[in-house]
């Protein structure tokens, strides 16, 4: 490439990589659409699990990565979403559509309540209060036998006929994931997202340029809760059973690990992290009952050597290359 | 006493000091001058070991201290007062002082420090974090003195202080040198530098551009307008 075009490339750099990203995404989606024809049933099911988890992790990242809030108990909203579907479908005669609509709304409502208390706090206090209130929700779900069946969970949750085959579940989760990711992406690039970043960087300053930081955070919390609720719906579609362990804090820790593994600063990071973790846990579990040990060691390595996450590192390398090219 | 030879210091990848050298002899007050961001603070941090240089050597009393850990500097006779004061906000003023005392024995103790800065006696039980900027600066210097330094390194001690306090502080610093402590000082304020120092180094982009006595600098209009813009 001659030095003359350098400047034009520099200018179009943004659009070029956007197109490249878009192209890659489209190719990826096409491949994913063909998966049920290529892979065996089990892997189709596993990918559906990956999609569900990816949505959950991405929704957390809105608060964690963009909002900079140490949200330690995101699994609660996921669990609430899943339980809402389960309870509506087993204890009422309402239609499935109602359950599907109610679940994210109810998850968002719980997020509103928990968030309303939490956004008054900063840093670790925020994290600890999410943990305390989240565990309270867990305790209620665990204890409210009449409604939730306690720790037995709710099983054989009926869903419409067309959603019972693994392939249809696969396509549903895939489509919902893509739609949700697009929405989350749009939000993250909107003024709301930019302002959220500003409140993360410097809440005091944000407040003094006229941003209602608490409300902003609360809204982010509710949005994240909403999408976690959607992930909960997907979970019910995939597994058709729920148990209180979905709302226990170590589930939330797993989601945090996924976000970190993929990279908090990159939009697709959590999705990648979810994919890696779900697949890895399956593969490792085949060979040893010490999966948690392996996970622990993996996390250790990640934290010590790759704290920006896998995608984070890739982006950094990419960025460096680009700036090196640009410098010449 | 202090001999800095050709140091190169980096923050991550960014190269800040480019082969900087300077000397401080015993009993001297040496001043680093230069505009914002020329590397004064970085030089001092390099000496004290907070951002060790990538290449070059630093000798103190003939001993190489280039890679010595920061926490051993006091024992060697080097104390540092950073530019943003760094008071332990959660400790009382008295506790702030107590911590620093006793690391290296010498003439300075609590009483003597209170004699130099009577204010500190009055606010003894207040939380360090609740002091005003000037009070914090005094506490910070007092704390460094309790390390009984042979060389005291001060980073912009007068920054953000009221004129009255600045003058008071300048007097106190002059009093200090009369006790035989050598002082290395970073300043933007030429006036106070001229008042305090024996010799000056003028920095620009991480390099020494002028070196000489205060009188030489006072005469050298050229350097002053070029590097200090006064």
């Amino acid at each position: 490439m001659s030095t003359n075009d350098m400047s034009s490339i520099k200018n179009s750099k943004g659009t070029f990589s956007t197109y490249l990203g878009l192209g890659l995404a489209l190719a990826g989606i096409l491949i994913l659409l063909m998966v049920p024809n290529i892979l065996t049933q089990y892997y189709v099911y596993l990918l559906a699990t990956v999609f569900t988890t990816a949505l959950l992790a991405s929704s957390l990242n809105l608060i964690l990565g963009y909002g900079g809030l140490l949200h330690l108990h995101h699994g609660v909203f996921f669990g609430v979403g899943a339980y809402t579907v389960a309870i509506v479908m087993t204890k009422t005669s309402w239609p499935f559509a109602a359950a599907v609509l109610l679940a994210p709304l109810f998850a968002a409502l719980i997020a509103l309540v928990i968030g309303w208390f939490c956004v008054r706090l900063r840093g670790l206090y925020f994290g600890m209060l999410t943990l305390a209130l989240g565990q309270l929700v867990w305790a209620i779900v665990y204890r409210w036998n009449a409604l939730t069946n306690g720790d037995n969970g709710i099983h054989a949750i009926p869903v419409p006929e067309f959603l019972t085959s693994i392939n249809s579940v696969y396509y549903t989760t895939l489509l919902v994931l893509i739609a949700s990711l697009v929405m989350l992406y749009v939000i993250s690039k909107s003024p709301f997202g930019l302002t959220l970043l500003a409140t993360r960087d410097n809440p005091v300053r944000s407040e003094s340029v006229g941003i209602n930081v608490k409300r902003h955070r609360l809204i982010a919390f509710v949005i994240a809760g909403f999408f976690a609720g959607i992930a909960g719906v997907l979970f019910v579609l995939v597994e058709r059973s729920v148990a209180p362990s979905l709302l226990f804090w170590n589930k939330s820790a797993e989601i945090l690990i996924m976000c970190l593994m993929g990279g908090l600063t990159v939009f697709m990071g959590p999705t990648l992290g979810a994919g890696i973790l779900v697949l890895l846990s399956m593969v490792v579990g085949l060979y040893t009952e010490y999966w948690l040990l392996v996970l622990g060691l993996l996390l250790l390595i990640l934290v010590l050597f790759l704290p920006q996450g896998i995608l984070g590192v890739l982006m950094e390398i990419h960025g460096k290359r680009r700036s090196m090219r640009g410098e010449n | 006493m202090l001999d800095v030879r050709d140091i190169h210091t980096y923050y991550g990848l960014s190269h800040i000091l480019f082969g900087l050298s300077l000397q401080v002899s015993k009993g001297e007050v040496v001043c680093l001058l230069g505009r914002n961001g020329v590397g004064k603070t970085t030089t001092l941090r390099s000496i004290i070991g907070l951002t060790p240089p990538k290449s070059g050597q630093i000798y103190f009393k003939g001993q190489e201290i280039t890679k010595t850990a920061t926490n051993r500097m006091v024992k060697l006779g080097l104390s540092f007062v950073p530019d943003n004061r760094r008071i332990f906000a959660d400790l009382s003023v008295r506790e702030n002082l107590e911590i620093a005392a006793g690391i290296k024995s010498g003439a300075w103790d609590l009483d003597k420090v209170h004699g130099l800065f009577p204010v500190l006696k009055r606010v003894e039980n207040r939380r360090g974090g609740n002091l005003s900027g000037g009070e914090q600066q005094m506490l910070s210097i007092a704390r460094a003195l309790l390390g009984n330094p042979e060389l005291l390194i001060l980073d912009e001690p007068t920054e953000g202080l009221a004129p009255l306090i600045v003058r008071e502080l300048e007097e106190q610093i002059l009093e200090l040198c009369s006790t035989g402590i050598s002082i290395l000082l970073a300043e933007q304020n030429l006036k106070s530098a001229l008042k305090l120092a024996n010799r000056c180094y003028v920095l620009e982009r991480g390099q020494v551009r002028f070196e000489g006595t205060v009188e030489e600098l006072a005469e050298n209009e050229d350097v002053r307008s070029k590097y200090l813009l006064v």
């Binding site: 037995n152 099983h155 362990s245 | -």
Partner: protein, 383 residues
């Protein structure tokens, strides 16, 4: 020696075991797995049906149980599923077993829902469930004169289910009993004194406890330390089980009543002795109750395959329904209607005999006495 039947080339039956091999509950999964392995070995030694197996760890998380079950069925292509100490996991896997028509032998989950209201053609249970335990306790307590009863237990399915079943059976057997109050502690409670103090102050005639695992041992310790047993009689399932008494050392509270499905030294029969010997030889320890459940699972499966003379899953299920085998505790039957194993249970009290803590006043409750009626189960299922 090899019998002519075994010569026939049959494909081995593959069992996929999902169970909890991590955390506090891992001790049970280990026992039942060893019991199952013993049964498999016995069939192999005498040239019976070939049984292969693979294990997966669900970490006591029900969502992991199902995802492993699915992996085992879809990827590993197992013929049978088994395991899951976690009742919720059992129920979740059972639901999948029904959908995928892969039979599931439960030897870990004790919830009465598994073969009760949530039972179906593809799920079998080779351990006494909470309905049976509760009924056995009720039978034992109905023979006493206690009227004012305090109910307590671990705040989870097992605890609640044992207590509910016990209470409903006891009120039928002995209508004049009254409940003073109930208290529930979290699983993993380390300090039982506040519970015991509260109970003591209410002065019930008897304290009836449904707690299990690690909590059982800790609870018994507290009963001893607080001296509760001197004031108020206590009943707890598995109170005199070696798994409870061994860790307690000389801190076992004498006089605590209880029921128990299996002891390695009771009943003192040849079958039991043989089983204990074989188990000891293999694993260098005495078999605990879950070892028996795993063993029964293996035995029922093997004998059903032989009986069916086929490796066809549906035929094996048919053969399993109502199958009666000889077991270390006597005749064991997988009831035809609900696929729940029927074995006897003992009751007695904790006592110090010749300086060691063990059980005394042991009696046997026959399966007929303690099994929930078929009618009640069919009623629950039709709901």
């Amino acid at each position: 020696g090899s019998s002519p039947v075994a010569k026939k080339e049959t494909k081995p039956i593959k069992v996929g075991i999902v169970d909890t091999y991590t955390g506090g509950a891992a001790v049970y999964a280990k026992d039942s797995l060893d019991g199952f392995k013993l049964a498999v070995k016995e069939f192999t030694d005498k040239g019976g049906p070939k049984i292969e197996f693979v294990t997966r760890d669900d970490e006591f998380k029900p969502d992991k149980s199902t995802s492993w079950a699915k992996e085992l069925v879809m990827r590993e292509q197992v013929d049978f599923l088994a395991g899951t100490t976690n009742s919720a996991g059992s129920l979740a896997v059972s639901q999948y077993a029904k959908e995928s028509k892969v039979p599931f032998i439960v030897w870990g989950g004790m919830s009465d829902k598994i073969t009760g209201e949530a039972g179906h053609r593809y799920v079998f249970s080779t351990l006494p469930n909470t309905a049976i335990i509760g009924k056995a306790g009720a039978v034992q307590l109905s023979k006493t004169s206690y009227k004012k009863i305090w109910l307590a237990g671990s705040d989870y399915e097992y605890g609640h289910s044992v207590i509910n079943n016990l209470w409903s059976n006891l009120t039928t057997l002995k209508p004049d009993v009254v409940k003073v109050e109930e208290s529930w502690w979290r699983v993993g409670e380390t300090d039982f004194t506040p519970y015991i103090n509260a109970i003591r102050s209410a002065k019930p005639d008897v304290l009836v406890v449904g707690t299990g695992g690690a909590d059982m041992v800790a609870f018994m310790k507290a009963v001893k330390a607080t001296g509760l047993i001197q004031e108020i009689p206590v009943w707890a399932h598995t109170s005199y089980d070696p798994a409870t008494l061994r860790p307690l050392g000389d801190q076992a509270p004498e006089g605590v009543m209880g029921t128990n499905p299996y002891l390695f030294d009771y009943p003192d029969t040849a079958e039991n002795k043989a089983f204990v010997e074989a188990f000891k030889k293999e694993y260098n320890r005495e078999p605990a109750a879950f070892a028996l459940y795993g063993y029964l699972g293996g035995k029922f499966l093997g004998e059903a395959i032989e009986k069916a003379g086929s490796t066809d899953k549906e035929k094996i299920i048919d053969a399993m329904e109502g199958l009666t085998i000889d077991s270390p505790v006597g005749k064991a039957t997988l009831r035809k209607e609900d696929h729940q194993v029927a074995i006897p249970m003992s009751y007695g009290v904790v006592a110090k005999v010749n300086g060691v803590f063990t059980a005394k006043d042991l009696h046997t409750l026959s399966p007929e006495e303690i099994m929930p009626s078929i009618d009640s189960i069919l009623k629950a299922r039709s709901k």
